[in-house]
């Protein structure tokens, strides 16, 4: 297995990476290593630089501020056809937090100004006037197996799905896309989630599922090491206890 190498492109970490998302790169590398394969990572620092999408198995875009998402989306339009081709070819894109808006058809800001974005995935993003932060727990079967994901959400936008796109998962606790049952979006192998920060550190099973998908994309059929994530599992248990206390007290605060 030592000769199996996957490549990840870490997109625009200096422009985005608002909530410690660099941890997700560490999680991809660590999980890959535990599974018995090697993960190589390149940083792509500027949206003005052309990307060779064939080079990479996984593209990760961390959460960012809407102002810079809009300017980055404008810059990326020059590469729109390459990005669309990569998405259609099943390349894996993981996009966390507000950066989902990069792929939106339309971004509508709180002052009603409108911006077109990359238009891949059939959804709009609408900025709210208020910030909403809370724990977020959701179930997903979008990556071939059932996963329960535990994270946090700091939401400044509502994501409105249109015909042709489907949610990544179902909200168990939290706000999700816009306060309903839908969480995130899955479009081909583009994974959009509102769970921001180092969500792959808290949920290494999601990192493992992404790595398995990348191997499948390359038709690599190997037996991976069995791994357990005791501390991560304990973390999820404690977070769920906290959420249950909030629910029990019939407030969202748990006070």
């Amino acid at each position: 297995m030592d000769n199996v190498v996957l490549k990840t492109a870490f997109l625009y970490p200096d422009i985005f990476c608002l909530n410690g998302e660099r941890g997700n790169i560490s999680a991809l590398c660590r999980t890959a290593e535990k599974l018995g394969i090697k993960m190589m990572v390149d940083r792509i620092n500027s949206p003005d630089s052309a990307i060779n999408f064939d080079t990479y198995d996984i593209f990760y875009i961390p959460s960012g501020e809407l102002k810079y998402i809009i300017s980055t989306a404008q810059a990326l339009k020059k590469q729109h056809s390459s990005i669309k081709k990569a998405v259609d070819a099943g390349k894996i894109f993981l996009i966390t937090g507000t950066s989902v808006a990069l792929f939106a058809d339309k971004i509508i800001r709180a002052d009603k100004s409108e911006y077109s974005a990359l238009g891949i995935g059939a959804f709009d993003c609408i900025e709210r006037k208020d910030v909403y932060g809370n724990d977020l727990v959701f179930d997903t079967q979008a990556l071939d197996k059932y996963l329960r994901i535990t994270g946090c959400q700091i939401s400044l936008i509502n994501t409105v799905l249109k015909d042709g796109s489907k949610p990544l998962g179902e909200v168990v606790y939290g706000y999700g896309n816009n306060g309903g049952a839908d969480e995130g979006i899955i479009y081909n192998n583009c994974i959009f989630t509102n769970a921001l920060g180092p969500v792959l550190i808290k949920n290494p099973q999601l990192a493992a599922a992404i790595i398995r998908l990348a191997l499948k994309n390359r038709d690599i059929d190997i037996k991976l090491n069995d791994i357990d994530f005791e501390i991560e599992n304990n973390s999820s248990i404690k977070i769920w206890e906290f959420i249950e206390e909030k629910i029990k007290n019939n407030t969202r605060s748990g006070r």
Partner: protein, 457 residues
């Protein structure tokens, strides 16, 4: 007449609250009176707006406010200030209630107010300060502030060309306010022995507030603050800011501004921006630089973040952090890392309970660098808190710490933490957590010492 009646009522509240619960005396009276009259703070007489300084920003505003207040007071000026950190409209109202006659004439020549960055728009319409100091705009309390640009937009709604702006020359978001006023005073800090650069694979810079591309730092004095430029547009630190701390000597606790030597009351890098910012404002208010410098030696910061407590044979050195604020956590980590002796490092990140809904964000720990700490001879890492101790442990594991060195305590019971500290061999103990937990620890230590004294007769 209505205002005089309201003020009389407010002064009675101040009097009563000082008897019943003095801790609430910095904001509660103003909270009540603002509900009755939203324009209350705008009705005081004798406020010369040319002598009103508002100080806002993410980090450092309390210290800069206290220092500027101290400089003005030491120079014999009569100053009204919300030194106790009540920085919302109710805090300003309370400060004015306390420092005015029964007819609403204020008793000060100068007014120095720390202003919460989200509250500025509620205060400025009533007191149109001519001086606005902005320390920096950083990630902080994301559940409340969302992202830094959210705060930038809030401030831009208020800042205007009728103000003198004092801007941190080394902080890109802060400097980006320069287009709003032609009267701009830049303050900064020169490269010094503790300046650094970040060039690790996972090190993160920040977006240029003008063009959205990556900002480059020639050097950093504090995380995300240092001499910068944008390679994609011409936005950059001014080459010659109006006020710049130079010749910084941490060993001799000295620095210079405009050839005047200043004594450093606290010799840590992040304080230097408070020093240069306060000097910038004091100079513009008409003080002489030698008179400003003479005040520095006697400055004592309110609510310092370092404290020690003794528990049995151990002295626990406590460094306070603000939760969801990576800069305070990074500063605390760096302070501990400066001690190269064997040590125990205790990190008590907690669930966030500032606002509703409470939640379990510990992500800001991933914005911090732990490399220097880990290289500084830590024998044990203790992670404690009821709900997020495992997440805290993961932060260390991902930094390469051996799991054998990590003790995880999933509890809020501080006695368990203290028993654990007691049983560790190493006597050099550092504790980083928020103030609430530390107060619980202090209270437990105090009561257990009292009990032991009683048992020993």
């Amino acid at each position: 007449m209505r205002f005089v009646t309201e003020l009389f009522f407010a002064k009675i509240i101040v009097f009563l609250i000082n008897i019943i619960n003095p801790q609430k005396g910095t904001s509660f009276p103003g909270k009540i009176i603002n509900k009755i009259d939203n324009n209350f703070i705008g009705k005081f007489k004798g406020i010369d707006l040319n002598k009103v300084v508002f100080i806002t920003g993410t980090n450092g505003k309390s210290t800069l406010t206290n220092l500027l207040y101290h400089i003005l007071k030491k120079n014999g000026l009569n100053v009204i200030c919300n030194t106790e950190g009540a920085n919302q409209k109710c805090g300003i109202a309370t400060a004015l209630i306390k420092n005015s006659t029964f007819f609403g004439r204020v008793k000060g020549q100068y007014f120095v107010f720390e202003i919460d960055e989200r509250s500025l728009y509620q205060i400025y319409p009533y007191i149109k300060a001519k001086h606005m100091v902005i320390t920096n705009i950083q990630k902080d309390q994301v559940q409340r502030n969302g992202d830094p640009d959210y705060i930038v937009r809030k401030l831009r709604e208020v800042i205007n060309s009728d103000m003198t702006l004092y801007l941190n020359n080394d902080e890109p978001r802060c400097k980006s306010f320069e287009d709003l006023s032609e009267d701009t005073v830049y303050f900064g800090v020169d490269k010094n022995s503790q300046s650094f650069i970040k060039n690790g694979f996972l090190d993160i810079s920040m977006p240029c507030p003008v063009c959205g591309r990556r900002i480059e730092f020639n050097y950093l004095n504090v995380d995300n603050i240092g001499n910068f430029y944008c390679p994609s547009c011409d936005f950059a630190s001014e080459k010659t800011p109006d006020v710049k701390a130079v010749d910084i000597n941490y060993t001799m606790d000295r620095f210079s501004i405009n050839n005047q030597i200043f004594q450093m009351p606290y010799n840590v890098p992040f304080m230097l921006y408070n020093y240069s910012g306060s000097v910038a404002a004091a100079l513009r208010l008409g003080l002489k630089i030698e008179d400003i410098a003479s005040a520095f030696a006697s400055f004592k910061n309110v609510g310092g973040r370092i404290e020690s407590i003794r528990y049995h044979k151990k002295v626990i050195k406590y460094i306070r952090i603000k939760q969801e604020n990576p800069e305070t956590l990074q500063s605390a980590i760096d302070s501990v890392a400066n001690d190269k002796n064997e040590k125990v490092f205790i990190l008590g990140l907690n669930e966030i309970i500032d606002f509703d809904p409470h939640y379990t964000n510990t992500f800001y720990a991933y914005d911090c660098d732990f490399n220097n700490l880990i290289a500084s001879n830590v024998s044990k890492y203790v992670c404690f808190s009821k709900y997020v101790c495992y997440d805290t442990a993961l932060r260390f594991i991902y930094e390469g710490v051996d799991e054998e060195k990590i003790i995880i305590l999933p509890t809020k019971d501080v006695s368990i933490l203290l028993d654990t500290i007691d049983n560790l061999e190493c006597g050099n103990v550092y504790l980083i957590t928020w103030l609430k937990t530390f107060n619980q620890i202090k209270e437990y230590v105090r009561s257990s010492q009292k009990l032991e004294q009683q048992q020993n007769g």
